[in-house]
Amino acid sequence: MSTTSKQRKGAALHLASRVAIHVALFAAVVVTLFPLLWMFTTAFTPNELTFRRNLGLLPAQPTIANFVAAFQIQPVAYWLLNSVITSVAIAAGKMLVAIPAAFAFAHFRFRGRDWLFAVIVGTMTIPYVVTLIPTYIAIVRLDLYNTLAGVIIPSIAFCGFAIFFLRQSFKVVPTELLEAGVIDGAGPLCALVSIVIPNTLPAIASLSVLSFLSAWNLYLWPHLILNDANMKTLSIGLKLFATNQEQLQQWGPLMATAVLGLLPALAIFAFAQRYVMDAFVHSGIK
């Protein structure tokens, strides 16, 4: 008797704790996602209604007028274009540099290999601010100030993680497979292109997505280098917009611009969620 009542009590406690866990997890989801939902709400609410205090998540009179207005108030189209160009160039540049280097570190023996690898991976622990001022001075002297190239080129150098991550993935490609290629007369470059890359596409995809996202979200460096309103990327254009709109009170168009900046990242995340999270998770494993 006493055991069954104990068991029943245990079961009730178990159920209560399971409910409590879900309540806690769900509350955390609400707090996490609410500000972004609110951004969407404001973006689709007529701007004059944003000044009425309101707590509803669904806009009363949904409209896309804010998006139209955003393009008229600020050069948002240029910002988007600049963001796409810089992010694609940085991501592609990193892959172009990291893939051959990671291949060499994974499958070749050469003098100084481990030391060079340590030098590259060591850059992951360096705060980028210490490179900021000399690089800025160099960019100004090279007349690359206020150009996208001035943003792109130094950013590609932060490829330490990419090389570290790809080396791990490339190591999985069996040596026998590569040796078979060599017997067939494939040179190193041929082996890389025809054997290693096709066998590690998921890792390469994860890393490309990650590099694109981090470039899309770059803040301080483009903020320093891009000066003209038309030259800015979306990430730093938003700051300009936010500073200007405090007098103008254009919260609707500002949130519409933020939505435009978030959508590409969200879309990539939705389609490549597993790859993105895998890449982040691998960054944390030893």
Partner: protein, 294 residues
């Protein structure tokens, strides 16, 4: 393999990466120390020798001191918070059986990580708006007092810290979740058989088992708090009001790019790397002592 022809190919393959890293990371790092002893004029493009003066005037500057103190607060608050709360959520997620639900939770928590600092900044700027922002509207609706949030010198730093936390916790969370799932089942089951309760199991088994991940996130979180919240600071408060939410990197930015005192800013950068080096060294010391590798 690739024994003969390979050697040259290997050097060719690593050359671009080595070159970029050397030119754009290591060289600037060394030059930064050099610049910190000079004054650089943007207009005339000239360097003037200043010796240690940049360091002395920096340490003497009251704005630097408040930025330094704020950085200490940001680190003291955000590093433990960004480790403890995600860890707690990861433990809770471990108890959820429905795999679809686990994936949904993970994705939801992770989303702020992919939001850029400036988007996070403007979204929260709008949330914090004292007149029509959501927070004050909500607070008044449920009978609480409204606040000035970012305009209040006593609150601005905490608002910035909250936004930085909001943006950063999801990354550590998915790392912990992955590490906890990776613990071999036998170990956990053995602990259960020995009659260990959930607390004992977490403290004695699970946390030690994932200590390499905890260590890794400790190091990266210090870097992120030092380096990257400058974006949030810039959009939300520009370090204000009255420098109450500024940090070292924002101070550096302000010195260099608003007051064009590049020498002093370089001195600040040198101090920052010294602080990060000390923090990382301390963590490595703790790592040697406590981290458990399987």
């Amino acid at each position: 393999m690739f024994a003969l022809q390979g050697r040259y190919a290997a050097w060719l393959f690593v050359a671009p990466a080595i070159l970029l890293v050397a030119v754009f990371i290591y060289l600037p790092m060394v030059l930064n120390v050099g610049v910190s002893f000079y004054d650089w004029s943007v207009l005339r493009n000239e360097f003037t020798w200043k010796g240690v003066e940049n360091y002395l005037s920096t340490l003497d500057n009251i704005d630097f001191r408040s930025a330094f103190a704020n950085t200490a607060i940001y680190l003291a608050v955000l590093v433990p918070a960004q480790i403890a709360l995600p860890l707690l959520l990861a433990f809770l997620m471990l108890r959820v059986r429905n795999r679809l639900l686990v994936r949904a939770y993970r994705a939801a928590y992770f989303i702020p990580t992919i939001v850029s600092f400036s988007i996070a900044g403007v979204v929260w700027l709008w949330m914090f708006n004292p007149i029509v922002g959501f927070l004050n509207t909500f607070f008044e609706a449920i009978g609480l007092q409204s606040h000035r949030w970012l305009n209040d010198p006593d609150m601005a730093l905490w608002c910035v810290a909250a936004v930085a936390f909001w943006k950063g916790f999801g990354l550590n969370l998915i790392l912990y979740a992955a590490a906890l799932v990776g613990i071999p089942r036998e170990v956990v089951e053995a602990a259960d058989l020995d009659g260990a309760g959930p607390w004992t199991r977490a403290l004695r088994i699970e946390i030690p088992m994932i200590s390499p991940t905890l260590f890794f996130t400790g190091v990266t979180t210090v870097l992120i708090v030092m380096d990257e919240i400058v974006g949030v600071v810039d959009v939300l408060t520009e370090g204000g009001p009255y420098n109450s939410s500024s940090n070292l990197v924002y101070y550096l930015y302000d010195r260099a790019f608003r007051q064009f005192n590049f020498g002093e800013a370089a001195a600040v950068a040198t101090l920052i790397i010294a602080i990060v080096a000390v923090a990382t060294w301390l963590q490595f010391r703790a790592f040697e002592r406590y981290v458990h590798y399987q």
